[in-house]
Subunit: 96 residues, 7 copies
Amino acid sequence: MKIRPLHDRVIVKRLEAEEKTASGIVLPGNAAEKPDMGLVEAVGAGKIQDNGSVRPMSLKVGDKVIFGKYSGQSVKVDGEELLVMREEDVMGVVEG
Amino acid sequence: MKIRPLHDRVIVKRLEAEEKTASGIVLPGNAAEKPDMGLVEAVGAGKIQDNGSVRPMSLKVGDKVIFGKYSGQSVKVDGEELLVMREEDVMGVVEG
Amino acid sequence: MKIRPLHDRVIVKRLEAEEKTASGIVLPGNAAEKPDMGLVEAVGAGKIQDNGSVRPMSLKVGDKVIFGKYSGQSVKVDGEELLVMREEDVMGVVEG
Amino acid sequence: MKIRPLHDRVIVKRLEAEEKTASGIVLPGNAAEKPDMGLVEAVGAGKIQDNGSVRPMSLKVGDKVIFGKYSGQSVKVDGEELLVMREEDVMGVVEG
Amino acid sequence: MKIRPLHDRVIVKRLEAEEKTASGIVLPGNAAEKPDMGLVEAVGAGKIQDNGSVRPMSLKVGDKVIFGKYSGQSVKVDGEELLVMREEDVMGVVEG
Amino acid sequence: MKIRPLHDRVIVKRLEAEEKTASGIVLPGNAAEKPDMGLVEAVGAGKIQDNGSVRPMSLKVGDKVIFGKYSGQSVKVDGEELLVMREEDVMGVVEG
Amino acid sequence: MKIRPLHDRVIVKRLEAEEKTASGIVLPGNAAEKPDMGLVEAVGAGKIQDNGSVRPMSLKVGDKVIFGKYSGQSVKVDGEELLVMREEDVMGVVEG
């Protein structure tokens, strides 16, 4: 059982505190929205354009991403809490 | 008697609590808008573009979808409560 | 005497309560805007695009449509109250 | 002495109460903006597009039109009060 | 000494009360913004489009124009008060 | 040491009161934003368009320009206060 | 361990006070948003356009940039505080 995100949305699983610490990246945040970290579990097919073509996605399954703490909407699948958000809400990919 | 949605709208029948539980997906929600689940009963022909062509729809009849709890407008057809919403308001399709 | 709507507007005659009940469709509404039902009496020629072409209309005269209760502006023609609204404000067509 | 409206604007002369009554059309209005009736006295050349071409107008001089009561700006030419508004503010043309 | 307006801006010299009266046009205005009258003293080269082409201007030097009383920004050149505004803010050209 | 403005931004050095007076142009302003005068010290390469091409700039180094008093952001380079603003915020070029 | 910014975002390391002073550039700011200075550490691949092509970036790694003090979101990577912002938020590049 899984969720296939529509258009330019992605499914992200928030990482636990220990996983974030192990990555060497801390997310102090500023202003109103603190960044958070997670793993991409599914990506949409891309946004359907006016001419019927599809704008490709930049993210792929497995990417470790940083996003605003309050981005997306949470949903529980088989007991696992996931986030549905737009690729636009993802700030960057953690590498290395 | 049925409703054919215009342009990029879809008709969705909200699923009952027991059906949602059976799916293994729980919808706790966050922020102001909690997600909900339903079945697509009808889809529009797509949005008519400026050049007269039609942007195709991603959803099809029978899709089990997740959407914001307050998305769409309710209408009762032959005693059955349905929701009319835009495809854009649908976050994803439940598979499997 | 009649009104020819401009661009992407349509003229709609609101249906009486008994006609709505007979259709088997009830319009309970939710949120701020309750849906209502009516008959399309006239449709505009379509929106004139930047290149001079005209984007075709989806609705046609005689369509039984659902729209937001506060959509459009009312006007009385030969004693009959009509609504002028944009096709975009129409949610769907009742069939069957 | 007259005013040539720029781009997609039109000049409209509001009809007197007796003329409106004679037309068989009453304008009760709803919501915040009540519709009113008038005669088109001049139309702009159309909106200049980005590529230099001009988007044609739908209205022509002599059209009897319905528009929002507070649409446009009034100006007195040789003692006659006129309205300058955009074609977009015109809801429809009275025929017959 | 003069000012060359940039892009789609025009320089307008507001007409004195006696000149306006002589024209046979009175500007009573309505709503929040009353119209005013002036002479076009300079026009920009037009708006530069994304592809590098320039969208031509409709107004030319010498046009007597009507515009919203609070449109534009005033600037004094060699003791003469002028207004800098966008062509879009001009409602029409007085002819005859 | 200097600043190269990005995209459609320009660097402007505000003129002193005596220089403005000498130009014969006074800037009384109206509404909320009073115009000011300055010299263009640097111009960006132009805005990068969606297709990768660059929209050319209208301003060039040395232009004496008029702009809104509160336009741009101030920055001190080698003791000299400069303004960074978008070309769109510049109303016109003083000639002569 | 590093962060690859998505689309048109860049990663910037804020410069310390002494580095800024050494550059001969002071950032007094005005209005609500004071400018700040930093070094570009990473740039996104560019914004994916509707047709699938990528709009190129103007900034490159190593650029010394000026940006609004409250632009971007802070994130700590291996103990180093960085900012993630859009190229659009960068006002200019400090040159030698």
